[in-house]
Symmetry: none
Subunit: 247 residues, 2 copies
């Protein structure tokens, strides 16, 4: 099992100071301590502390980031929470299934990403997520309070936290390395005219999902970047010899 | 399974108007609709409605009773929630075990009783309870928000009442298409000199593993083969213009 100390709750653009406190309380009840606030839309207020109700230490140690991209750099596995169906993510778990999945892994840095209260995670946020966790809810009244959602997912993880992994755990690449790979791939695909210069993100979103699902390890990223470097070298080499021939 | 429509949430002496709203929201999210308020210590306020966030109907239809004894009259099975050990109750369940237990029963009227925010259920309240449900929590920080506790117990009950799968099954590509993709990739990587001509299989084996893990669907294979075709076109195009220039 991924230890609870390696699991972070990432709140994207939280809007309510009370919810931040309530999330901290639920986290501490259930053995989690690492909170990340991305582009918070609110200050911390006395309501935060009131709702934290003794979990002020979790709030005080929270990490603040300006962008989700920046916030996710240290993580091996990024899990989004949404009740929406997301066509490009096939790994959709219930909270109990996510707990089973994490129980099968070793020590990974895991981010559980929760969207803004009013909208949930957008497609742009979900592009960073390899897995999705969906809390089964009443289809006629799905929108759940942020802290309630955190409590339910954390409850499942806490229950499994004494499990031991079997088999080999993949040595997953971190998001920072994956992002460099995606940037490199995008430059190459623009160069050969595969991507639309005015709208490269649509196809790139699919490619990101494919490579995210592949659970890339460090050595895999090295091989793939090696291919891209060789590809650039090859193209430059042809052009160079062309230039010499015409000179 | 006891139908969700036969399960009531009974709040004993609730103190916070916001919590009553939050409890109603969590209940409606998770398919419960019957709320009983026993000797409520607070009026309903705008904060109740704000936190109910669309579950005002649950609050409006709630039943009010002066005493727990009165409130529990209609029920077949009374389940208390507490993190305390109660010597005279031997049936102590985790929420998931309670859901299993209710799944084994027929149509019973079930009351899930939650105590006041500050103290939880007292011995006097617990005298009415035949079973106890305990949410496993961090022993150093056990006191959970009332609505969080309701959400977690209701989540377990809802899961058992709703065996439908969440998420989408991937429409995986067949092996034949994958093999064509691997062949195409190998030709391209030989062309740019990334693979050793005498031993291309070693690196290809790693790339096959990466792409197999990615659970490629038909449309993913089409995109990847599109990239390879575009790459070949681009290389041929450069060579062609080189040929024309030198001719």
């Amino acid at each position: 099992m991924t230890p609870l100390s390696h699991i972070s709750i990432v709140l994207v653009e939280p809007q309510s100071p009370g919810n931040i406190g309530a999330v901290a309380r639920a986290m501490k009840n259930l053995g989690l301590s690492r909170l990340v606030l991305v582009n918070s839309q609110t200050e911390l207020t006395p309501e935060t502390s009131h709702r934290a109700c003794g979990a002020d230490d979790v709030v005080a140690r929270s990490v603040r980031c300006a962008t989700l991209r920046e916030a996710l750099k240290p993580f091996h596995l990024v899990v989004g929470t949404s009740s929406r169906s997301v066509p490009w993510i096939s790994g959709v778990f219930r909270p109990s299934e996510l707990a089973d999945h994490l129980a099968s892994l070793g020590e990974q840095e895991v981010a559980l990403v929760f969207g803004p209260e009013r909208t949930g995670l957008t497609n742009e946020h979900l592009d960073f997520c390899r897995l999705l966790v969906t809390i089964p809810t009443n289809p006629e009244f799905e929108s759940m309070n942020l802290a309630h959602a955190v409590a339910i997912v954390a409850y499942e993880l806490y229950q499994r936290s004494d499990a031991r992994p079997v088999g080999r755990s993949p040595d997953l690449a971190r998001t920072a390395e994956l992002e460099e790979l995606f940037d490199h791939l995008e430059r190459c695909l623009l160069e050969i005219g595969f991507l639309d210069k005015d709208n490269p993100k649509r196809i790139m979103a699919t490619l990101r999902q494919i490579l995210s699902r592949a659970e890339l390890e460090d050595r895999d990223v090295q091989i793939l970047r090696g291919i891209l470097r060789q590809w650039s070298w090859y193209a430059a080499h042809i052009k160079e010899s062309q230039h010499q021939n015409t000179a």
